[in-house]
Structure formats: structure tokens, C-alpha cells
């Protein structure tokens, strides 16, 4: 397993290099540059823009720009955001706690909902309950998050007054106090729920189908014949087998936790990586945009590696060497 892991990690290096070239070229292929939005005769002048272009190296040939960037990147210097004028690493670190908090909460909600619904539907396939769950799931899949977000705000914040609709914490609370954390949780519930509930469909349906399939297998029949309790059959024998395909999702989930939810974060004014990423694209903030893209690529690769390793742990029949 160790050998396998090391081999995979070494294999990532050329992959990341290729990704970096693609990311860089795509970023540069975007029209304009980070200064094109700054045309305002009251605030700046053409000389300043020309000078900044020179200083930021936008006039250098592309390969030179690429190597300047990748050289810093490898050494952990992600560059300085052209919009926020601060190191990108600080900028990302500032946003990560919010994003991880939101990502973990929404995943938690997804898992809870998907497992309870999937197990229920799998045990009673083709009943009304199963169909209702299926219907709800596909409805969730079909509703875009920005619609769900706006409706959730309208209903739960404005009509019922249950949850806040903006920010990640109440104004004026001391960081670290119990009140502060309760407020954090209170603020994260609605965006997390919107994100989490809409994503349950694939998990639930995978789980359901696998449970149905497994329940017809020989080892289940044997267990039944032995007189094992149905609950035990489902919760131990079948569930353990049915989780394996879900591990594939876990690999992507790790990247999802960091990548944030662009639209949900914007609607709920929840300052996280997703919002930062969107802004960096619209303002051509190359260093920020490229750093986030690289980070997400890396996490997806690592997530997949972890998923592959977990296969072996959950199912000893899958051998890795």
C-alpha cells in the first residue's frame, strides 16, 4: 500500500505541471487583464495603467511570465492579488475557515439525509415511501441552488424570521465566546442546508440501488437462512458492501469542501473561497484565480488517492500494490 501511495504521489507531479500550464494559458486567454476594469478618469490615468502593466510583467513574453509564476508557486509564494493587493496565501487563509465550516456542515447534512433516505428506500423499494424519496431527490437535483437560496431566504428569514440571510456571524460578537460559535452555527445552517439537501440525490440513489441489489445476493439469503435478524442483515452485511461505491464520491467531496459554493456563498453573502474565486475571475485577478484553481486540482487528485486507498480498507478483496 505504501509503495502504491508513493507511486501515485510521484505520478501527480507531471500531472500538476500540465494542469499549471493549462490553468496559466486559460487565465491569459481571458480577454483584458486585471487593469482593464480600472478606466475611471477621476481616479486614475493612462500613465498609471501602463506603468502597472509593466511592473506586473504583463508585457513580458508568455513563457517568461509562466516561469516567473511557477517559480514562486513551487516555493510557496502564490503572488500578490492584483485586486486586494495582499498575498494570495493570506487571502485564501482568511476565507478558508468559513468555507470549510460551510463545506463540512453541508456534507454532514448530505450524509445524514442521504443515508437515512437511502437506507429507508433500499429496504422498502417500490413502495410509496421509496417513490416519495426518489421524487424529492430528483426535485432537489433539478432546482438550481440560486433559486432554492432565494426562496429559503424569503421563507425562513423574511417570513418566519428563523435564520439570518447574510454574513457568517452576528456583528459585534467577541471571537471565541460561546455566543460567537452559536451565531456561527446559526448563520451556516441555511446555506449548508440549501447546499446539502440539493446534493443528496446521487448519494441516496446509489445507496438505494446497491442495497436492493445486495439484498438479492446469496450471502444475504444464507444469513436469512441462518436466522440472522433482518436489522442486522441490513445494517451490517448489506450496508458495509453498499458503502463501497459511495467512497468514489468522497474523493470529490474533499475538494468540494474547499472549493465552496460559488452561487450559494454569493446569495448568502457568506465570504468564502467560492465568492473569492468568482470575484477573481470577473476582475482578472490572475494570481488569486490561478492559486485557487491549482489548489482545487491538487485537492481533487489527493481526494481520489484517498478514495482509492479507502477502497482497500473497506473491502479487503480490492488489493493495491
Amino acid at each position: 500500500m505504501l509503495k502504491y501511495t508513493i507511486r501515485r504521489i510521484i505520478g501527480m507531479i507531471p500531472m500538476l505541471l500540465l494542469i499549471s500550464i493549462v490553468v496559466f494559458l486559460l487565465a491569459k486567454a481571458m480577454p483584458g487583464d486585471s487593469l482593464s476594469g480600472e478606466i475611471d478618469p477621476n481616479n486614475t490615468n493612462p500613465e498609471y495603467i501602463a506603468e502597472m502593466r509593466e511592473r506586473l510583467g504583463y508585457n513580458d513574453p508568455l513563457p517568461v511570465q509562466y516561469f516567473d509564476w511557477i517559480k514562486g508557486f513551487v516555493q510557496g509564494d502564490f503572488g500578490k492579488s492584483t485586486r486586494y493587493k495582499m498575498p494570495v496565501s493570506d487571502l485564501i487563509m482568511e476565507r478558508i475557515p468559513n468555507t470549510v465550516f460551510l463545506g463540512v456542515s453541508s456534507l454532514l447534512i448530505t450524509y445524514i439525509l442521504a443515508f437515512s433516505m437511502g437506507i429507508f428506500a433500499g429496504r422498502k423499494p417500490y413502495t410509496i415511501g421509496d417513490h416519495v424519496i426518489g421524487g424529492l431527490n430528483y426535485l432537489g437535483l433539478a432546482i438550481p441552488s440560486f433559486i432554492a437560496g432565494v426562496f429559503a431566504i424569503y421563507i425562513f428569514s423574511f417570513n418566519l424570521g428563523w435564520t439570518p440571510y447574510a454574513g457568517s456571524v452576528e456583528v459585534g460578537l467577541q471571537e471565541g465566546t460561546l455566543e460567537y460559535w452559536i451565531s456561527r452555527i446559526h448563520h451556516v445552517i441555511m446555506p449548508a442546508f440549501v447546499l446539502g439537501a440539493l446534493a443528496t440525490a446521487s448519494y441516496t440513489q446509489f445507496l438505494r440501488n446497491d442495497i436492493i441489489e445486495n439484498s438479492r445476493k446469496d450471502f444475504v439469503r444464507t444469513a436469512r437462512a441462518k436466522g440472522t435478524a433482518t436489522t442486522k442483515i441490513y445494517n451490517v452485511h448489506i450496508l458495509r458492501n453498499s458503502i463501497i461505491p459511495l467512497i468514489t464520491f468522497l474523493g470529490f467531496d474533499i475538494a468540494t469542501i474547499i472549493s465552496g459554493a460559488i452561487i450559494t456563498e454569493t446569495i448568502f453573502t457568506y465570504p468564502g473561497i467560492g465568492q473569492l474565486f468568482l470575484n477573481s475571475v470577473t476582475t482578472n485577478d490572475y494570481p488569486t484565480m490561478m492559486a485557487i484553481t491549482m489548489l482545487l486540482s491538487l485537492l481533487t487528485l489527493v481526494g481520489n488517492l484517498i478514495a482509492d486507498i479507502l477502497y482497500g480498507v473497506v473491502d479487503p478483496r480490492i488489493r493495491l500494490d
Binding site: 481571458m30 480577454p31 483584458g32 487583464d33 482593464s36 476594469g37 480600472e38 478606466i39 478618469p41 477621476n42 481616479n43 486614475t44 490615468n45 493612462p46 500613465e47 498609471y48 502597472m52 511592473r55 500578490k80 485586486r83 486586494y84 493587493k85 495582499m86 498575498p87 493570506d90 482568511e94 476565507r95 437515512s116 433516505m117 429507508f120 429496504r123 415511501g129 432565494v150 431566504i153 424569503y154 428569514s157 423574511f158 418566519l160 424570521g161 428563523w162 435564520t163 439570518p164 440571510y165 447574510a166 454574513g167 457568517s168 456571524v169 456583528v171 459585534g172 452559536i182 452555527i185 446559526h186 445552517i189 436489522t231 446569495i267 453573502t269 457568506y270 465570504p271 465568492q275 482578472n284
Partner: protein, 575 residues
């Protein structure tokens, strides 16, 4: 067994709802505490004339966090800065400078003597002296400075030499004493005063920080220190800022206890105002009508300083020599341009796309500016399709092949291409389409081309052949000098309009020997210039917009004029 799993589901639902209920009760008790606190404050206040209380100021976009006048890049940051910092002089409702912390004297418009008020304090308790202003000017002129304000310093004598590293200080700055600074500009100009950088920077705070590191420093991003009525207490990046009153504010104690800034998404603005969660916000035209329907909110409009236009590409700009040549033939015919102007129903267009929060503008200066010429003195182009058709015929544009659209004087197909920028705003394409339809109605075949906004300005700036007529907007500052947008050696002169008379008028208006320090004389020249432009139609001037603000009924003493809201120390709230 069936029952058990159903039970499980029910239990989970119960837990969830209990969780939600717990949170909601938590929030309502918080709210009660808050409002309770505020009412008691309000009562105290009513004894001494409405003071105390906290105002919640809503922002539709998140600040970038560059909370220093010398470094900020976007308007949102500037709005935050206005609450805790203050310039040395302010602008009245006619955009004329008036003394604030500093007053000035000059005899020749070249050498100015500024005198500071004594006892003006920074939020950290250090007294403001002219050294702080010198520090700000030298920071901006420093070669490592990464902001865009150098244009406001370069006219000071010796600033270019300082920037090149040839001098250790700016020779035009002469510190007479702690409260007196003499500034010598490189030449006498009428706009030296309004152009010069007028925000001091706390020397004590930035001590030991390299200029290159300033914009990322804590002093700019987390703990900014200013001279204004409120000081920054806590910043949660991207979502909220708490400001508390600064008791030693030099104009007197502010009436409010504090201001909370909250960032919210534009889709929640109306709901938040209705609930009374925010007291003050500037509105987008699209939300105006819905907010006006709310009982607890007042919508205030005040004149803005921006205008929209449809420009004609008349030539090209040579960036090597900084020269414009009017070498594009397609729209060279004055009558064609006039016809296209007469074809557009501006009022209808503004009502449809800006919900009435705007009015037609007839020249390159918004009508609320002190140099704006009266529409009666300008050549105006009212909506008149018949006149447009006549002008077209006069210019030789006639429908030769009977397709319903005119051909150019040579008998070739004439298609006007209209470019507009595209963002996520869905109304942009429709409003561009509307303009094109006006042209089609008078018989000009026209088509729209939407271009992504970054690429758009790139193409307009580089005179891309695909750009023929284009949509754009400009805003005017306190200093009315339009040379940057209209001079024939300027890259931002997008229509590539070249007219020696215009150049001469613009130069005269700045020439101290022609206008002296007589604002009237200067305004007269600008009016003459506006007449010239309106006669030549290098652009069709479409609309000037109003600024719209929403104030909840508990807010008092907030007033707006063309220079923006009044100073925040006067604001107050009642219950």
C-alpha cells in the same frame, strides 16, 4: 422493522426542527436585547436631542479591504473610508472646495499656504500635524507605491525628481511649522487646489513599514486609523464592519454611538429594508419601485455625476505618438450622426431601463455640475423620426433597392454596428437592442454586438475595426476638466474626436492667464466648449442618472447633495 426506520426518520426530523427552533428563539432573544438597548439609548437621547443609537448601513458589494484613501481601488472601499476618515477640505453642493481641517491662501495659484486646525486628533490619540500630510504625499510619490493616486501629487514641484530617486524629499513642500505647510506647484493652474491629494496619512501608525508593504499591512486592512467621526472597531472581511463614535472628533461629538456596515446580496436588499434590518443603503434603479412601496423606508434621489452615451468611432489613436487621426469614413457625415441622434427616444429608453431614475442629457457634462451649460444653449437632438429621415435624405442616404433600409450615398448597403458590453446583467442586451430598433425605425439597418466587458474596453481602446458605434459611460469629478476624455492626445478620447478649437478651449479653461481665478470665466469657456461638442455630435448623449438612497424612518439628519451625503457626525437615529 418498518416502524423502526420510520421512527428514525421522524426522530431526525424532530432533532433538526428542534435545532432550527432553538436557533430562531436564540436570534429573537438577541434581537430583543438589541432593540431593548437601542430604545433605552433613544430615550436618553431624546433628553439631549436625539443622540445615541446605532445605524446599520447596508452594502450591496463587499469591500476589498483597502481602507486607506491612498490605496483603495473601488467605490465600496471609498464609502467605508468616508465614515472614518476625512479629507483636509470638503466640497459644497456646487462642488466648490470649502475649508475643513485645512484652510488655504494663495496669491498666484502656484504657491499655496495651508493652515491646519489645531488639536485635530487621529483615532489613536496622536495629534494631526502637516508632517502627516507630507508623509502621505511622499508615500504616493514613492517609486514602490502601488496605488493609482500619483496624478494627484505629480504637479507638486519636485515630485517627479523624488519619484525618480534624484531627491530625498519633495522640494515643493515647505513645512513652516506644525500647522502650516507651503506647497509650490510646478506651474500656476486653476485646478491645483482641487487636484492635489488632500488626505493625510498617520505617520505614527505606518512607522517602519515599507511603502511596498503598506497596502497589505494591518494598518490598512484590519486597524485603519483616520480623522473622521467614527473609528473602526472590528472588521470581519467581506461581511461586516463595526464603527464606534470617536469622541474627540474635531467638529464635535458625533450623535450616533456607532455605525454597523453589513454586506448583503442584492436579492435580499428589499426584504432587509422591509424588516428594518438595515437603515441606510444606496439602491440600484431596479429596486427603487419596490422599496418606495415600503412604509418604513424613504427613497431619496439626488443628482449624480455620471452620464451614458453612444459614441461614434471617427478615427484611430496612435499610442506611439499619442495622436488622433480622424480617418474612419463611415460616420464622418455630420448629418448621419445627427439623424441617428434624432432617432433615439431617450426618455422612453430611460423610463424602461432605469425605471425613471434618470433624465436625458444634452452634453458631456451632467446638468448638476457647475460648469454644465443650459440645454437651451446647446444643440439638442430631441426624438424626431421625421427629422431624422430628412437629415438622412439630405446626406444622401436613401433606400435604393427597396428593402426598407437606406443605402449609403454610393448605393452600397449600410449597416450600423452597435457594440455594447456584456456582464451578468440581463438588461444590457435588451437596452442595446432597443437603441438599434430606434435606428431601424428611421430606416437605418443596424445590428447589436454584445462583448464581454473586459474585452469590450480593450477593443474600444485599441480602435478594433469591429467597433463602430459603442455604448459607454463616464463620470465627472469635482474638478470639471474634461481634457482626459476629450483632448486630441488622450487615449481615453474613445470616439477619437479631434478638433483644434476644442483643444484650445480646454487649454484656455485651465490657463491662469486667460481665466485668472474667476470661476465664472472658466465656466463660460466650458459652456462654449459644450456647444461645440453638441454641434459636432461625436457622441449621442443619452442619459444622466440619479443616485438613489433608501433611508429607514428612524434615521434623521442624513441629507444628500451632488457631492454625496453630509458628514456622518451629523447623522442620528430615533426610535
Amino acid at each position: 422493522m418498518k416502524k423502526k426506520s420510520l421512527q428514525l426518520l421522524m426522530i431526525m426530523l424532530l432533532i433538526l426542527s428542534a435545532f432550527l427552533a432553538a436557533c430562531s428563539s436564540d436570534s429573537s432573544s438577541e434581537n430583543e436585547n438589541e432593540t431593548g438597548g437601542e430604545t433605552s439609548d433613544g430615550e436618553e437621547g431624546s433628553e439631549e436631542g436625539a443622540s445615541g443609537g446605532t445605524l446599520t448601513y447596508g452594502f450591496e458589494s463587499a469591500p476589498e479591504g483597502l481602507f486607506n484613501p491612498a490605496f483603495y481601488g473601488i467605490v465600496t472601499d471609498a464609502d467605508v473610508i468616508d465614515l472614518f476618515d476625512e479629507a483636509l477640505f470638503t466640497y459644497d453642493e456646487n462642488l466648490q472646495p470649502e475649508p475643513g481641517i485645512a484652510s488655504w491662501e494663495t496669491e498666484d495659484n502656484k504657491v499655496f499656504t495651508f493652515t491646519f486646525e489645531q488639536g485635530v486628533m487621529w483615532h489613536d490619540g496622536v495629534e494631526l500635524t502637516v508632517e502627516d500630510w507630507v508623509f502621505a504625499l511622499e508615500t504616493i510619490a514613492h517609486p514602490d507605491y502601488d496605488g493609482s493616486r500619483y496624478a494627484n501629487v505629480q504637479t507638486i514641484e519636485g515630485a517627479p525628481a523624488f519619484r525618480e530617486g534624484e531627491a530625498d524629499s519633495i522640494s515643493g513642500l515647505n513645512v513652516v511649522d506644525e500647522y502650516t505647510l507651503e506647497i509650490t506647484f510646478d506651474e500656476a493652474r486653476v485646478n491645483n487646489l482641487v487636484n492635489v491629494w488632500s488626505y493625510p496619512m498617520s505617520r505614527a501608525q505606518f512607522e517602519g513599514i515599507e511603502v511596498a508593504d503598506m497596502s497589505a499591512s494591518e494598518q490598512v486592512r484590519q486597524n485603519p486609523v483616520g480623522l473622521g467621526a467614527f473609528k473602526v472597531d472590528n472588521i470581519v472581511p467581506g461581511e461586516s464592519i463595526e464603527l464606534v463614535k470617536f469622541e474627540d472628533y474635531w467638529r464635535g461629538e458625533p450623535k450616533l454611538d456607532g455605525i454597523n456596515i453589513r454586506v448583503l446580496d442584492s436579492s435580499t436588499v428589499v426584504g432587509a429594508l422591509g424588516q428594518g434590518d438595515i437603515d441606510m443603503i444606496s439602491l440600484a434603479p431596479v429596486n427603487g419601485e419596490e422599496v418606495e412601496a415600503l412604509d418604513n423606508v424613504e427613497v431619496i434621489t439626488y443628482p449624480g455625476l455620471s452620464y451614458y452615451y453612444v459614441g461614434f468611432k471617427l478615427g484611430t489613436f496612435n499610442s506611439e505618438t499619442n495622436e488622433i487621426t480622424e480617418d474612419k469614413e463611415k460616420y464622418a457625415d455630420l448629418n448621419l450622426r445627427k439623424a441617428m441622434a434624432h432617432a433615439i427616444n431617450r426618455q422612453e429608453w430611460i423610463d424602461a431601463f432605469f425605471f425613471g431614475y434618470g433624465s436625458p442629457v444634452d452634453g458631456p457634462v451632467p446638468s448638476s455640475h457647475w460648469i454644465a451649460a443650459d440645454s437651451a444653449d446647446l444643440s439638442t437632438y430631441e426624438y424626431d423620426p421625421e427629422k431624422a429621415k430628412e437629415l438622412l435624405a439630405e446626406a444622401g442616404y436613401e433606400d435604393v433597392n427597396g428593402d426598407g433600409f437606406v443605402e449609403d450615398p454610393n448605393g452600397d448597403e449600410f449597416i450600423a454596428k452597435f457594440s455594447h458590453y456584456q456582464t451578468t446583467n440581463p438588461t444590457f442586451e435588451t437596452r442595446a437592442q432597443a437603441i438599434v430598433q430606434y435606428w431601424q425605425e428611421v430606416g437605418i439597418q443596424a445590428e447589436v454586438e454584445m462583448t464581454e466587458v473586459n474585452l469590450y474596453y480593450d477593443m474600444v481602446e485599441k480602435d478594433d475595426p469591429a467597433i463602430e458605434t459603442f455604448f459607454g459611460g463616464w463620470s465627472t469629478g469635482a474638478d470639471p476638466d474634461p481634457t482626459g476624455l476629450w483632448g486630441s492626445d488622450q487615449i481615453w478620447n474613445y470616439p477619437r474626436y479631434k478638433n483644434e478649437e476644442s483643444d484650445k478651449l480646454l487649454a484656455d479653461a485651465l490657463n491662469i492667464e486667460v481665466v485668472g481665478d474667476d470661476e465664472e470665466a472658466r465656466a463660460e469657456i466650458y459652456k462654449e466648449w459644450q456647444q461645440l461638442i453638441s454641434e459636432d455630435v461625436p457622441m449621442i448623449f443619452i442619459a444622466e442618472l440619479q443616485e438613489i438612497a433608501a433611508l429607514s424612518s428612524r434615521v434623521d439628519n442624513v441629507t444628500y447633495d451632488v457631492s454625496g451625503p453630509n458628514l456622518p457626525y451629523e447623522w442620528s437615529v430615533t426610535e
